[in-house]
Symmetry: C2
Subunit: 381 residues, 2 copies
């Protein structure tokens, strides 16, 4: 079996991730930040060490500004709903995931003005277009760091500079980059950074979070017990407790910590180099096939490890079905929860076939995948 659906969720995970989760479940089990006994303290240590590892990955100085959420979607909702108020304007791109567009369309009904800046049909964004879209009520810019449909990398640092110059806040959806592409939140002027734990951070599902730069105040998404200020019926006003109500996913965070430590020890530049090489091989192989359209910039320097394509005359779902049934290759087909992105690249409403890889993908797997697509393209009709 060849797993080429890593942009949905990375698999396999490093053995250390599963080991950390099993160790926690078997030997610790307790809740963090509540009770004071030795197991609870051990649980609290696991959560804090994961926070430290994430802070190191983002190159931010204060681990307590890393807020854990159940996924990137929750982090994006916390950031957008927590920051924007009726009358505010927000700028986003035409290549966003529904984790950005659906919260924004809901906010639009509550009096937020949403401006969508068009990307090119290759999935790239011109920072000047963002600059030109700024209005007097603009407060926030929301961008994904890389498209989940074509893998194009957006000019986050350049937009960060524009945001800083215009006193705007920049929120980045880094679901497709964190762990696979170097991020320096401070140098890139990222004010709010939403991340998912189960993709290139190699953690389990149920993890993710939001980095909140000092000085930015958000309204919570949820209120409740935090283990802190237990004498108060009002939410604590300090981070991360203000945004982390209820028992945390400690077993998930144990796994996420191990995943991030895997990334840090492998070295993120080495990971990026490897994924570029694999992506180049995949792109080159697909581009040699007749009757195939490959979307995006076709340039590994401006792309993460995912490739979208279509075979003329064969629907994406038929290609996906054959890849699974006849070649045991797992991919994703359709709209990938990002209708606006497909309108941008011209593949709405049929979608694309998406192949996405991880640090564990081998050159042999890429080769076998290309051969399978060649056969499907040859045998069509």
């Amino acid at each position: 079996m060849i797993y080429m659906d890593n942009a949905a969720t990375f698999w396999p995970k490093p053995p250390s991730v599963i080991q950390a989760m099993t160790d926690y479940m078997t030997n610790i089990g307790a809740n963090s930040g509540r009770s004071g006994h030795r197991l609870a303290i051990e649980a609290g240590r696991i959560v804090y060490e994961t926070r430290e590892a994430v802070a190191e990955l983002f190159n931010i100085s204060d681990p307590l500004r890393v807020v854990f959420c159940s996924n990137a979607t929750e982090a994006l909702n916390l950031a957008m709903r927590g920051f924007l108020q009726a009358g505010d304007g927000v700028i986003t791109s035409s290549i966003e995931h529904n984790s950005v567009m659906r919260p924004l369309r809901a906010l639009e009904k509550e009096g937020i003005e949403v401006t969508v800046v068009n990307c090119s049909s290759q999935g790239f964004l011109d920072p000047h277009d963002v600059q030109a879209a700024i209005k007097s009520n603009t407060k926030l810019i929301v961008l994904n760091h890389a498209s989940n449909v074509v893998g194009s990398i957006l000019p986050v640092a350049e937009v960060g500079k524009i945001a800083r110059e215009n006193d705007l806040v920049l929120l980045v959806d880094a679901a497709q980059t964190v762990g696979a592409y170097p991020i320096d939140a401070e140098a890139m002027n990222i004010d709010l950074l939403a991340f998912t734990g189960h993709k290139a951070m190699y953690g389990p599902q149920g993890t993710g979070g939001l980095y909140v730069r000092e000085g930015i105040d958000l309204k919570p998404l949820k209120w409740g017990g935090t283990g802190s200020r237990s004498e108060e019926e009002y939410q604590p006003d300090f981070l991360p407790d203000k945004y982390e109500s209820g028992t945390m996913n400690i077993v998930g965070l144990a796994g996420l910590g191990a995943g991030v430590r895997f990334v840090l020890s492998e070295d993120i530049d080495k990971i990026r180099e490897n994924e570029k090489n694999l992506t180049r091989k995949l792109l080159n192989g697909l581009l040699n096939i007749e009757d195939i359209t490959v979307y995006g910039g076709l340039d590994v320097d401006r792309q993460v490890g995912l490739v979208s394509f279509n075979i003329e005359g064969v629907s994406p779902s038929e290609v996906g079905f054959q890849l699974d049934e006849e070649y045991e290759i797992m991919c994703r087909v359709g709209l990938h929860c990002a209708p606006a992105a497909h309108k941008t690249i011209g593949t709405f409403p049929i979608g694309t076939v998406r192949l996405s890889l991880s640090h564990f993908t081998t050159e042999e797997e890429i080769g076998e995948t290309i051969r399978a697509v060649v056969e499907i393209a040859l045998n069509k009709g």
Copy 2:
């Protein structure tokens, strides 16, 4: 080591729970409800089977009305914030956890009228007092099923009848009962049932959810990708997708499914009987110690498996410290995230020592715990 902190989180878990999580992480890994390949379908099956098991435990007919959340706190926020609108009134009790009180105090600032009905100093609620508190703007009643401070069971079915007669919606926080005490959501007229996965359902942390009775519409807490209606930038309006945005905690739900199946196979009446016997032994032992105050009704038929007490002249934190350091007994001390409950039973702001058990607690462990408390009480000062 003796773990008597189960009201915070149950531990140990049945081996089948850890096995289900490891199996998923090792052999499946994929995302549910998105891609169409075999691993994704297997992941979807795991999520659905967990939904079915939870529905069976609650005795509700439609598993799709079980919405998964990251914890009971999120479920309570979804229920309260999703249902109440400015001008509405809500009734709650004086013995609630901060997972209820903090969201309500925040809603109060947004124009919701909050009425708190007093419980007795033993932690019991008179349904007539709820009836008397109903006003013309009352829309919702929120009650915990059992107190996390004294274990008292609240008359949820009786209040459910009152709610039905008055066209009000009843939301129950079942964090301390689901899995340990029989619940029939339909027969008890529970409209919204918030549950946590990591306590008596024996699942891992990061799981929980909300049962939403048919006919009740809530505003989502989060918007985003659902894998359904991917062509739309607006949230799907059907359950559970409307409230389940973003990648789910599938590894957690694999564990939760195994946990609930453990409860169903052990038989919940047998579990309840066992915990009553253990609680009786614990209560009787503590009540025999001089200079000790045990809180609550002291009646196992009206109490779940947790007991709060104080030793005269020794602070709860000192008792907890000695239990941990000298006897390797894990408990929780302080306010247990429920200041209102401590005001009700007269232990604010110092709190109590709380001992809480599970189906795995043995009579020997109860005996050793009682002997330890006797020694601490004898040696004080």
